[in-house]
């Protein structure tokens, strides 16, 4: 197997600079990292260390100022806006601290949402969403609206949505940030289980007790990788 195929994510000298008034702020300052397939990597750092920016760049929501990033072998710099949208619907799945589900849709429709933009027919979308909810122990909640769900259930639904496209990598940005400790622990257990099933996971957190579950921990500070 070539390195191309064994690497889920590869970045080289990633830099992201913002203008804040007259001063420029470097959110990322030369980040080089690789995530192999099947790995569970946690990126740790205090707030403002650039860890969310790193995740957004890998997700194709943000373009780096310099350096490059490859996800599943694809160089994101070569993609236009529509190409990046395709990247988000096929190669990566995102889980946010704020869940970001659409309250007016049923849970199953929320989970199936990314498949709409990938052009998957309705029947297949629903079948895949239901199968995934079943796997995550959420099948009883499939027909509910999101406002009838608890925080832990919302985040499980969000993970189902992130996984429905069969992404090369699951990107989780502080997924336990809005959960109590019991639900947080359950969620990490779920990520662990998914990883053991072969899912590559890149988790961003400032919480060391959560990062411990990852196979590898990277520390980020002021936009730079430590050690």
């Amino acid at each position: 197997m070539s390195t191309e195929q064994t690497l889920a994510v590869e970045t080289r000298d990633l830099a992201c600079t913002y203008m804040s008034g007259a001063t420029s702020v470097a959110a990322l300052d030369g980040v080089t990292l690789t995530v192999r397939r099947g790995e569970f990597v946690a990126v740790m750092g205090p707030s403002g260390s650039g860890k969310s920016t790193l995740l957004n760049v890998i997700a194709g929501l943000e373009r780096p100022t310099s350096g490059w990033v490859r996800v599943d072998g694809e160089d994101l710099a070569a993609l236009n806006e529509a190409g990046l949208a395709g990247h988000r619907s096929k190669r990566v799945g995102m889980v946010f601290q704020a869940f970001n589900l659409l309250p007016r849709y049923r849970v199953v429709d929320n989970v199936a949402l990314p498949l709409i933009f990938a052009g998957v027919p309705r029947a297949e979308r629903t079948a895949r969403a239901r199968a995934l909810l079943d796997r995550l122990g959420m099948s009883s909640r499939a027909e509910h609206r999101t406002n009838e769900l608890s925080g832990g259930e919302l985040q499980r639904a969000a993970i189902a949505r992130a996984l429905v496209g069969g992404p090369a990598i699951l990107l989780a940005d502080e997924p336990t940030g809005n959960l109590d400790s019991a639900n947080g622990a359950a969620l990490i257990a779920l990520l662990d289980e998914l990883n053991r099933g072969g899912q590559t996971v890149l988790l961003v957190t400032h919480d060391g007790s959560i990062a411990r579950h990852a196979g590898r921990i990277m520390h980020l500070r002021d936009g730079k990788v430590l050690d």
Partner: protein, 418 residues
């Protein structure tokens, strides 16, 4: 994104904020209804006028008058039409027939009494005015002399009915004074009597006083009246008018131009119809413009609603983009939502405009039962399609900028939007 999904998803968005969508749609419906109503009114009026013109005459006909066209219609100068000119008319392209006419002095059918005053028209066989309007007998034919085709009202003065008039020998007294209605007209010259056989009776709807006689007879009567010979009359006075028939109505304008180049003024219904068409085009344009203003107001309403909708759904747009919606998908979603406003508003507006026209028409007929029976409002298939297309177009144009705004929104800042 599949078209079916786009349609279903945007329909959901359209139906979600019911009151707001309903109000915006109502705006489009009212604008469309006004456009439909006003154009239907203009079309009805135009149809009415055109119908009455078509019943008057043939659109292939160009009538040449013995005048030289002046700078305006009032300053026309008399100009003789002799046989030389007629042969020039025959050479004009696309001319299917040239028919000379000579009007003899006013006269009377003696057997009909004082009410039988006539205008004898000397015409050639198959002249456009002597076609297809017979009540009995036949039209003038080649080689006829001493015959006449007379209107039904005069036939009934000289015989019990129109059929009985056929073959009857009557006396045309041409020249001198005649009574027209209640007034006596001092005619020209000394009256002379000419015996003629009635060969045909035409429907007096065309004319109650015209008597159609062979051209040569009319020329002789005219010459007798003025103490000339028929040939010198042809040269000096010329014909009263020439009817030129085009091979097709589309060539009428060309023939009219040629006649004018020869120095004669002419008249054609076709040109009148064209002028009427032009006039109605302007009329219709003005009415459509009034309706258009209503649609413009509706468009501003749509744009406003869409801007609000984009703003309200900022976070949703961010989520859609984060899970893989392409910029074009987002734009399509909002444009499709605007299109729904146009489609629903357009259909409702069509119904409203059509039914409104029916109601107004009924009220008008109720108030004035003697109103012309032709429809006042005419909604044709082109108006239906046009109005619907216009409503959708207006909605799409109004939705374009808000949709573009949604498309260009950064996914990250949209996700952070509260």
């Amino acid at each position: 994104m599949r078209l079916g999904d786009l349609a279903a998803m945007s329909l959901g968005n359209y139906a979600r904020s019911r009151l707001r969508s309903a109000l915006t749609t109502a705006g489009v419906a009212i604008g469309t209804a006004l456009v439909v109503l006003l154009i239907a009114l203009a079309t009805g009026a135009e149809n009415n006028v055109r119908r009455s013109i078509f019943s008057i005459g043939d659109l292939r006909l160009v009538t040449v008058q013995p005048f030289q066209p002046g700078a305006n219609g009032l300053s026309a100068v008399p100009r003789t039409i002799d046989d030389g000119v007629v042969s020039q008319f025959r050479k004009i392209g696309h001319v299917a027939g040239v028919y000379r006419q000579f009007d003899a002095p006013l006269g009377q059918v003696v057997e009909g009494g004082d009410d039988a005053a006539i205008r004898p028209q000397g015409i050639e066989p198959n002249a456009p005015i002597d076609r297809g309007d017979l009540l009995a007998g036949r039209h003038l034919a080649l080689g006829d002399r001493g015959v006449a085709v007379i209107p039904g009202n005069i036939a009934r003065l000289v015989a019990p009915n129109v059929t009985a008039a056929i073959g009857k020998l009557v006396t045309l007294r041409i020249g001198g004074a005649v009574r027209l209605g209640s007034t006596r007209v001092g005619g020209s010259g000394t009256p002379r009597d000419y015996p003629v056989t009635i060969v045909g009776v035409f429907d007096e709807a065309a004319s109650q006083t015209s008597v159609r006689i062979p051209l040569e007879d009319a020329l002789v009567a005219g010459a007798d009246n003025r103490g000339l010979t028929a040939d010198s009359l042809r040269q000096q006075t010329g014909y009263s008018g020439i009817a030129i028939e085009a091979d097709d109505s589309t060539n009428v304008a060309e023939i009219v131009r040629s006649v004018q180049e020869l120095g004669y003024s002419s008249f054609s219904l076709k040109q009148v119809v064209e002028q009427i068409d032009q006039g109605f085009g302007v009329f219709r344009g003005i009415l459509a413009g009034i309706g258009g203003v209503a649609l413009l107001v509706a468009a501003i309403g749509i744009a406003n609603t869409m801007v609000m909708s984009v703003l309200e759904r900022t976070r949703e747009i961010g989520i859609l983009k984060a899970v893989g919606a392409a910029p074009g998908d987002v734009r399509a979603l909002f444009l499709a939502e605007a299109a729904y406003v146009g489609i629903v508003g357009g259909v409702l507006g069509l119904l409203l405009g059509y039914l409104g026209g029916q109601v107004i028409e009924r009220i008008i007929r109720e108030l004035n039962p003697r109103t012309n029976p032709a429809p006042i409002f005419v909604v044709g298939p082109d108006l239906v399609l046009g109005a619907l297309g216009l409503a959708i177009l207006v909605a799409l144009v109004a939705g374009f900028l808000p949709a573009r705004r949604a498309m260009r929104m950064s996914a990250l800042s949209a996700l952070r939007y509260e």
